[in-house]
Symmetry: C2
Subunit: 492 residues, 2 copies
């Protein structure tokens, strides 16, 4: 138990300030986060979004909330300005590979989830697929037509942005944009001549004859617009109004702005009370992303197989790297930063192992509790994970002081230290040792045997044997360190 007198405050993009978090229906919290489009491998940017909201999910649960966390899988209808011409990205890939779109989508979904599992990202409670909710999307289009905020044009249906803005004055409420700005960004594209206004966006698109992802609707055989799926699925699993909507900052406009427009005009209310956005990963100052083709996939990080990488970085290293920055700051990729993250992570893993080995005294000369309280305080301040990590390094220093007998700790305090470290490091930050338990245990036993034999050799002043053992271990990728209280070892 770590004492906590702080309220949780979160930065709400909608109000542009930090607010005290008040759940709509405590102790339940509904959270919807925009998930991946599954037509390719996830990159570091995807990891950041997933990890940010994994931390939010973990911390809300730590505070006692019962969270229903929904993160969608976009497997159809990703219509951005770039591709508002009816050719959606998944279908493009499927044609290329001569595969069924669902097969491509499931292949990449599995790879995405495997990468998330490796980074210890908890599975959301529900991961609904866009293609599994076509009926629900059609119903919302019908509602929008009925309410007068959509119009049919040549078998497609568009959202009427002008009417929405004139009636509600809510256009730009989230992104702070104005319609004029949007128009100037719009290029001449197929389908534009069907729209009343260039800022209007597709709710339903009529499929061209060769378009293979297609469903029946009252307007045409076609497919839903991209913004619609999140409105349909968040409503289905969380209700018309829910607590938190999250996603990457790149989704702020037009995606999230359009979601608000759809909800306001179909249901009469904005969908989410709090809008949270994680910032981007940059590479040499530019956003890392598919469209810029400067991205490194997660599997490339895990294997080191990308020219920009000096070496492989484990999933937990990526996690730690991302958590070392606040989610609303940009985070620049570099090998140096990743190597530093790896080193920092190993130090904290070592600290956690050392807590068990700490010599205990009758009394404690130090008090670790206030530092853990600062960790919770930092989390309550808009999920400030870098401050949490800085405090854990403080703990690490204390543990070393106790190891070196410069400070002392009682058995009871050591037990509390152990528990609190696990709460913050493992449960809230989601860090874990990447070695599996079973193999680690066997390895530990083998190392016990080897270290004992080395000790014996040293006691007998048989330096040749003792040096040989060290050399062989180095070759096996294991470093050993002789300390005051015996020998410790680590995988290099």
């Amino acid at each position: 138990m770590i004492k906590n007198n702080n309220d949780l405050s979160v930065y709400n993009t909608l109000t542009r300030k930090k607010e005290i978090f008040k759940a709509l229906n405590p102790p339940r919290v509904g959270m919807y986060v925009c998930g991946p489009t599954v037509y390719g491998d996830a990159h570091l940017g995807h990891a950041r979004s997933a990890l940010t909201f994994d931390t939010v999910y973990r911390f809300l649960q730590y505070l006692g909330y019962k969270v229903r966390y929904v993160r969608n899988i976009t497997d159809v209808g990703h219509l951005e300005n770039d591709s508002d011409n009816g050719e959606d990205k998944i279908e493009k890939k499927a044609k290329l590979e001569q595969l069924e779109p669902m097969e491509v989508a499931q292949y990449y979904t599995k790879r995405y989830l495997d990468a998330m599992d490796a980074m210890n990202v908890l599975r959301p409670n529900i991961q609904p697929h866009a293609t599994g909710h076509i009926m629900e999307q059609i119903e919302i289009v019908e509602q929008l037509l009925k309410n007068g905020y959509a119009y049919e044009s040549n078998g497609s249906v568009y959202f009427d942005v002008n009417k929405y803005n004139n009636d509600t004055h809510k256009y730009g409420i989230l992104s702070n944009r104005v319609i004029e700005e949007m128009i100037s960004n719009t290029r001449e594209l197929d389908g534009q001549e069907e729209k009343r206004h260039p800022a209007d966006f597709a709710l339903w698109k009529k499929a061209s004859p060769e378009h293979i992802m297609r469903w029946k609707s009252p307007w045409s055989i076609g497919f839903p617009g991209w913004h619609l799926e999140c409105t349909a699925m968040s409503k289905k699993y969380l209700g018309e109004r829910f607590d938190i909507h999250g996603g990457g900052l790149d989704l702020l406009f037009p995606h999230h702005e359009s979601e608000i427009a759809q909800s306001v005009c179909a249901f009469g209310s904005e969908p989410a009370k709090y809008w949270l956005h994680n910032n981007m990963i940059t590479v040499d100052g530019q956003k890392m992303g598919k469209s810029l083709n400067n991205f490194i996939t997660l599997n490339e990080f895990f294997s080191g197989s990308h020219p920009k990488l000096n070496k492989a970085y484990s999933p937990m290293t990526i996690r730690f790297f991302i958590l070392q920055a606040h989610y609303r700051s940009t985070l620049d990729f570099s090998n140096d930063a990743l190597s530093a993250a790896e080193k920092g992570m190993k130090k904290l893993l070592e600290t956690q192992k050392n807590i068990d080995r700490l010599p205990v005294s009758k009394t404690s000369s130090i008090d670790t509790a206030p530092i853990f309280e600062k960790c919770i305080e930092a989390m309550c301040d808009d999920f400030n994970t870098p401050v949490v990590i800085a405090n854990l390094f403080e703990i690490s220093h204390m543990v070393n002081q106790i190891m070196n007998k410069k400070e002392s700790i009682s058995e009871k305090d050591r037990a509390e230290l152990k528990e609190n470290f696990a709460i913050v490091f493992n449960h809230i930050l989601g860090m874990r040792n990447e070695q599996t338990d079973d193999s680690l245990k066997t390895m530990e036993k083998l190392m016990d045997i080897i270290i004992e034999m080395r000790n014996k050799a040293r006691a007998e002043k048989d330096w040749a044997t003792s040096d040989k053992i060290r050399d062989e271990l180095t070759k096996a990728g294991i470093s050993i360190k002789d300390g005051k209280d015996g020998v410790s070892w680590d995988l290099m």
Copy 2:
């Protein structure tokens, strides 16, 4: 390369005989298999079905076919006689746990897939969900109504079994049953009074007000009948006519019989050319299953946490146990049989390891090629895995003879033996060593160090140390064996 002059023959439940397999559109093969209903943990029966068709999938690919393998996830509408009253199993569980049905379904889907992954069951190319294909199911109901083989009654739609049978004479084509037999099995249940004939089955059910899984349809707000999803999803991903339809023998009737009825009446053709059914797992002679409540879940097997189990059995042990019986025979569960399977599997894993260590000679005194040819021949004979395994034990014996210098093998033949063993054991049977590569490699290096030190102790006649090392290793769960060519070790 293993020589093969055999055609593949498969037992077709539809014709009740073994037939030469001829693909409809070679080299492509479409295969649909009924997957799990995800309202609880998978048990040994689910494993058998998945493993049977995994073996079929693997072997078809070995023969050079390009297979699209579709296995559905039933997450709604499992309407059997027992629950033909509109209360479907998933919803029941969801209410009980106060969870969203999709959350229950995704929770158990993940557990199912994790268990399948652990048993090295390859993921099917497409795993479609019933709830994701409601529109496609509604379209088939419309077609059946239009063709006169379905009727609406009080907002629900039923399939007209009598009319189907009178028009096509196809009723019982698969299961060999007659309508009278079915009627006598039918109990008086809610909804029965809506039917024209007790044998009629639901295509669409009107939802009662408290029923939370519900979709709009032309007839009512409701949900589709269980048999319909497989017709809709096999058609969508494989076409109206495809090569293989598989499933457990318990699905023969009414499920598969009803699928045929639906396809014949909606599309004018039977869906699959070959119907393959795996037999049941029995416990003390009774079928293992949810309805009999005598099942042991896969996770219970993996952890040993069920009163009927003497110990834990690893996923690969379960795989080997199931492959040791032919898929069309019943397979009785017992601890003895599982322990025997574990022993047999370890022997073959050991054999595979030993192939690398075989001493090579200028010439070979034996020829392993014909035995591998027998393996392929057995697989071509309706996937006769037990005969394959018997032949691998033959190889195991030969390898031991070479180890013991009673036979000899050339370097070229050893390379071929190694390759062929991997083809049959790893690729076709899907067996693998459960230790992960990385931890195994480190462990091997540590063991090298330990064994070298033990050898040194023995050379110096320091028996105390050498015995101590053996004892410590035993405690660590590792057995060592002194052989002619040095020391070998194994995890116990």
